[in-house]
């Protein structure tokens, strides 16, 4: 199957970036093209973006994102899927080489994916990046239950499901009753190229800390599930043993004021720098300049932040939860601490900061794992294996269309 042709459905694709999905589909589709596949991406339009363009071999079709007013986000999403479906069908008709399978990402492109599957009788593969129940910490109203059921529908209709971690696989299994054997786990990737910047490290460090201070970096939304308060709680304990350190907290959220008050109360406000949002470029330079990354999340479906830090050559301390547990091997390529425990966190921060050769060992092993597991070419290889398996099963089945649309 050298001319394998996949059509991807995603509600976001650069320059339309809303969450992490846009970057995922962007990186995955380009990596698949590098592996010799033909890839069409059908997505929503964006002001200034072209209706059609080719990006590193990926054919990107942007369609009207249904601009008629709609009562809520879910209704809009369902209406937008009518546009996605129409564009996908148009694309599939036009192409000289037949589309072999459809790949939908999350519930936001589920209706279009399911309809196209049946109308064209092509197999559907779906990636579940996160679940409504996970995002909302349970299902609390009919709106959330409806989205939850659309997610179930997608897992039911898909030939195979891809999840980015075993944590997510188990969640999908528990929430939707999907057999574990129907789910393939392919981790998310990180694009190391973007981190390969040339810049003045001392200059960047000087913007955030004094020359004699080590930089401990946190990146994330300032919301309870990210556990920033645990980091703030650990700061005085660290300073007692290791005073020359600055804690840089990047990101924003509704807990910011409360965290600042905590820092004041603990008498360490001068040692914590709340930067707010930073632009991507500066953040990458900061990753490359800091001494330690600390991510004490309480809930983490995948944990791309740890990957980015590791790929930048930053030793990391993460909490032993969700996707983090799978990314980091404790005491080998990073540190795992029990969630919600600032004492343990402080102990390990001191340990890593005070032993540069240990820190180097973690850093070195992390980079090795990144290049072996979280590399987009490796992810594309695994994804292709899923496609090939689906197509083998499809070829052997009696469920087929009879004309090439």
């Amino acid at each position: 199957m050298s001319d394998l042709h996949v059509l991807m459905l995603s509600w976001e694709f650069p320059p339309r970036v809303i969450g992490g999905l846009a970057a995922h589909v962007y990186d995955l589709s380009r990596a698949l093209v590098r592996r010799g596949l033909s890839v069409d991406v059908v997505t929503c339009d964006f002001p200034g973006a072209l209706k059609y363009e080719e990006i590193e071999g990926v054919h990107v079709y942007r369609t009207d994102a249904y601009t008629v007013p709609s009562p809520d986000f879910a209704s809009w999403a369902l209406l937008m899927n009518l546009s996605l479906q129409k564009q996908a069908i148009e694309t599939m008709k036009k192409e000289e080489n037949e589309v072999d399978l459809i790949h939908a990402h999350d519930w936001l492109s589920a209706p279009a994916g399911i309809a196209i599957k049946h109308i064209t009788r092509k197999p559907l593969v779906a990636t579940i990046h996160s679940t409504e129940s996970g995002r909302r910490n349970g299902l609390h109203n009919d709106y959330q239950r409806m989205i939850h059921e659309i997610e179930w529908w997608l897992t039911f209709e898909a030939w195979r499901i891809i999840c980015c971690s075993y944590f997510m696989r188990n969640q999908v299994h528990n929430l939707f009753g999907t057999p574990v054997g129907k789910i393939d786990v392919i981790p998310n990737g990180v694009d190391g190229q973007k981190l390969a910047l040339s810049f003045n490290r001392e200059e960047i460090r000087s913007r955030f800390a004094a020359p004699w201070e080590k930089i401990v970096l946190f990146v994330g939304r300032l919301v309870p599930e990210k556990g920033v308060n645990i980091l703030v709680g650990a700061v005085p304990k660290v300073l007692k043993a290791y005073p020359n350190v600055k804690f840089v907290i990047v990101g924003d959220g509704y807990m910011r004021k409360a965290l600042m008050d905590d820092a004041h109360m603990l008498g360490v406000y001068h040692k914590i720098y709340f930067t707010g949002f930073l632009d991507d470029q500066l953040l990458r330079m900061l990753y490359r300049s800091a001494d330690l990354g600390v991510f004490p999340s309480l809930y983490e479906p995948f944990g791309i932040v740890a990957l980015e830090a590791m790929a930048a050559g930053l030793p990391v301390i993460v909490s032993d939860t969700g996707g983090f547990s799978e990314i980091v091997d404790h005491d080998v390529n990073g540190i795992k601490v029990p969630p919600n425990n600032s004492d343990a966190l402080a102990w390990w921060i001191i340990r890593v900061l005070s032993d540069p050769s240990y820190s180097d060992w973690l850093r070195h092993n992390a980079l090795k794992k990144i290049s072996e597991v979280y590399d987009w070419d490796e992810i594309a290889r695994k994804t292709r294996l899923v496609y090939e398996r689906v197509l083998r099963e499809y070829e052997a089945s009696t469920w087929k269309g009879f004309k090439s649309i």
Partner: protein, 206 residues
């Protein structure tokens, strides 16, 4: 001729007037040797039934919880497309016409038209402008946009009265020549429907 009728209500599930009108249509078509497949929602009687030679496919909505009839209809239409696609492939692609009734079946009809080149005609029993006194909220506007899309994509629009024709004409800017007024009480009404079907198929008769 093989026709697929899409309706959200069909006896014994009767919500309004539409159910019995559609049944009258299906029964009359069968008498004129049309193979009629009715695809309809009926949560309590899901499955296949042949009633007086009308083949009735009763389906449910895979998504059980909804916040409005809009989300309900949009997900149901995907399931309708699945069932019609199955009819289509079982019939080796020989489906001549889709006849949709009201906005509740428009997305499926439009999707099938584009993908499988099955022409469709749309009967408008009532309009959102009328039901909601002018479609002012986002909810009503979204429904109206679906109606408008159906009126735009359909090959022919069928209404039951002059009054309804004026509503469609004025509220949705549909050219008069695209609308046929065919009350099911009129003499020879089924001949008119069959004429509309065959012209929608490009004048092919069987």
């Amino acid at each position: 001729m093989r026709a697929i009728v899409l309706t959200w209500e069909y006896p014994p599930r009767i919500i309004g007037e539409m159910a019995n009108r559609v049944k009258t249509l299906a029964d009359a078509l069968v008498k004129r040797n049309v193979e009629v497949h009715v695809v309809t929602f009926d949560d309590w009687r899901v499955g296949l039934e042949v009633d007086n030679n009308v083949i009735i496919h009763r389906i449910s909505n895979p998504v059980r919880t909804h916040t409005s009839i809009l989300t309900w209809a949009l997900t149901l239409n995907i399931e309708m497309e699945r069932v019609v696609a199955d009819i289509y492939y079982n019939a080796h692609g020989k489906v001549d016409i889709v006849h949709a009734h009201d906005w509740l079946c428009v997305p499926a009809a439009v999707g099938l038209k584009h993908a499988l080149q099955i022409p469709f005609v749309l009967t408008i029993h009532s309009t959102e402008d009328y039901r909601s006194h002018g479609s002012t909220t986002p909810f009503n506007l979204a429904i109206k946009s679906i109606e408008w899309n159906g009126l735009y994509e359909a090959t022919k629009v069928i209404v039951h009265s002059q009054e309804m024709m004026m509503e469609v004409l004025m509220g949705y800017r549909v050219p008069e020549s695209k609308i046929a007024v065919v009350p099911i009480t009129a003499p020879l009404w089924i001949d008119k429907i069959l004429d509309i079907y065959s012209s929608a198929r490009g004048g092919k008769n069987e």
